[in-house]
Symmetry: C2
Subunit: 406 residues, 2 copies
């Protein structure tokens, strides 16, 4: 059985690396704090008898033997955070996996299949775009060269950081090299459904589709004091119309549209009309076809906006990542459903992407969500109660054991 106190205490302890004064986390993938927490995590797993493998993407696999040989049942998530992230997103899944290993170890409980706790590298996509990178390479969705060559805003690559921290494993990052029998991921919901319903836990049946784009709008910089309003080639004017239009279209199509990054190629100055605006657009929908329609509508609208804005053009529109809608494995989902049956629960399609999206291509996968306060995530105020965390840990353990005996 799960030690609820220890689970929450260890989770809080693991947040010493990358904690921010506002109670949140800033532990960008493969920075020094991420390396520290990863080394600590490996040590804790080894203490309970796990054998640890690090693959070529720095993904960590801590295996606890079962009665039988063969692919292990995985409990995976991530330890990296957003620059203004919270203490639960990803972290909960990894720490709950550790608690399951500790509980099994102490009870001397032997599973049929081996178990593995996995820390996937760069899930957030905040430092290195795209998100879910380590699991994408493992799943064969992207070649390892792609994973290694991703760079952050300062031009530092994933490979450089893996080498610097000694996390460039010799084992190939591949589902063929490291096969999994199944993958279970416990995560905070990151949205308002459970909090609104006042339910602690949810069975996650799938994940909605999403796409990221980098869009450049080019105008012509000029003087703020001498350029008449009607002669401006102002890319910011077009940008503002685009942002509002994307939001309107998202509402109309029942999807989501977010602009989370906005800047310019050139240094900005108070008395200069901007020369260009560069921004990232994130669109999502539960349905792939509807996401196609939303994207088409956004493209049409943006084209119209630049046409209507003097001297402004769409200089580029680059896809950064795309993830199709996913339905999790019925059997694995059923194990979660059974494990939840004592609790008031919901069935949810995840709004956020997770490493489970990638594992679902290669092994039966399911997820468990627990409630988070006000549905807030990717923010320092992100919070889940110790009670809900305990529920999550118990459901994870139960789902894994259930799958183990099917």
């Amino acid at each position: 059985a799960i030690d609820a106190q220890r689970l929450n205490d260890t989770l809080q302890l693991s947040c010493q690396w990358g904690a921010t004064p506002d109670g949140g986390m800033d532990r960008l993938a493969l920075n020094d704090d991420d390396a520290r927490v990863r080394r600590w995590y490996i040590g804790e797993c080894e203490k309970v008898g796990c054998q640890v493998t690090v693959d070529a993407m720095g993904n960590i696999f801590a295996v606890r033997p079962g009665k039988q040989q063969g692919p292990p049942i995985a409990m995976g998530s991530h330890l990296d955070t957003q620059p203004t992230g919270g203490r639960y997103d990803g972290i909960l899944g990894c720490l709950a996996a550790l608690e399951v290993l500790r509980a099994c170890h102490e009870a001397g409980y032997e599973t049929i299949h081996p178990l593995v706790a996995i820390v996937w590298t760069n899930e957030e996509g905040a430092r290195f775009i795209p998100s879910m990178l380590g699991s994408a390479v493992w799943a064969g969705m992207k070649p390892v060269e792609f994973g290694h060559s991703r760079t952050d805003d300062a031009g530092v690559s994933v490979r450089e950081e893996l080498e610097r921290h000694n996390f460039l494993g010799v084992t190939a990052s591949s589902h063929e090299q490291i096969p999994l029998k199944a993958h279970f991921e416990l995560h905070i919901e990151q949205g308002p459904i459970l909090d609104t319903a006042a339910h602690p836990v949810a069975v996650v049946t799938g994940v909605q589709a999403f796409r990221w784009f980098e869009i450049k709008v080019k105008g012509r910089g000029s003087h703020a004091g001498t350029t008449p309003m009607h002669l401006r080639h102002n890319p910011l004017t077009a940008f503002c119309r685009m942002a509002l239009s994307a939001e309107e279209l998202a509402v109309r199509f029942g999807g989501l549209a977010t602009i989370g990054r906005v800047g310019s190629l050139a240094t900005q100055s108070t008395n200069c009309i901007l020369d260009d605006v560069v921004f990232h657009l994130d669109i999502r929908h539960h349905d792939d076809d509807q996401l196609n329609r939303l994207e088409a509508a956004v493209r049409e609208s943006f084209a119209k906006i630049v046409e209507e804005t003097l001297g402004v053009r769409l200089a580029s529109w680059e896809p950064l990542t795309a993830s199709q809608a996913v339905q999790f494995d019925p059997l694995a989902v059923d194990c979660v459903r059974h494990a939840c049956k004592a609790y008031p629960k919901e069935e949810i399609i995840s709004g956020a992407g997770h490493d489970s999206v990638n594992t679902s291509k290669r092994c039966p996968t399911a997820m468990i969500f627990i409630r988070c306060k006000d549905g807030v995530s990717h923010h320092p105020s992100e919070y889940s109660t110790p009670e809900d965390i305990a529920v999550g840990g118990r459901v994870l353990l139960d789902a894994v054991c259930r799958y183990d005996s099917t």
Copy 2:
């Protein structure tokens, strides 16, 4: 008489410090390139017999004696540029002043009053806010402590940079310590009036009023994939509405509104709704009362927008600088008017602020504009023809001599 070839050649030569590959300039106030061009400029003035004083703001005064003692007639402008600036804004005025000194020196021409070429420090306000800083301290509009304490985005202060480059002069930066008989400034128009009229030169009769504000809009960051559109507290949505509204109001009031800087306090991330948006607003009008009305309308509109945007508030609204509408000295303007009489010309109220705004508080001041291509300034494509530059140099010399003999 002006040597037109030498004037243009020397201007281009002076752009070796801070030139960018696109033909523009990036010579932010008091950076290494600005220090280099300033040292070179002092040397060139000394070669033609000038005595150079640097004041406590790093303003450079290169004085050529006249028949009489007493306050000199000044030809001033600036050598600093925008981060994406051109080769003429400010630079023209300083290099034309040097050419006037060279021409007088070669001709052995003795003015009644001494002449002085002035390089004012940090006119652009791009590195250190506010603009026109060196001349503001000289004019007693701001204390020298204010000038010294301005910092750039990296937190480096004006005083630190003055010390580092050995430009922290011992002479007080003050119109009392360094009085001027008059101040003439040759500048590119930076706007489209002359280019549209196909006239090379303009008499500048005054400068419009302007105000800068730093405005913070606070929302609540959260997850791009899990936060329903109708539950977002998105400060970017409010910002976009504000930007479009400010532009509309500027048109309605016959003024200008520009947002030249936009960012966030926290690091941005593709899949995070922004927590806050911070931006600079620049509003201008020829008429002080109308500028009051425009500001009031903008404030009212922004208040309404945050009221209508869920969970978003105006966290701060800080005035960064304010400059009232200025009318130049009738006698000095008349000297420019006479000096221009051979050329097809315009009478213009300057849209941009200039150091002449500050000198006008302390001595008779006037300005000369020459045409620039397409009215573009604060951009690498900023351009004035050698012919127009020659006209500008001649008019400057003539206006100064005319004022000298009044």
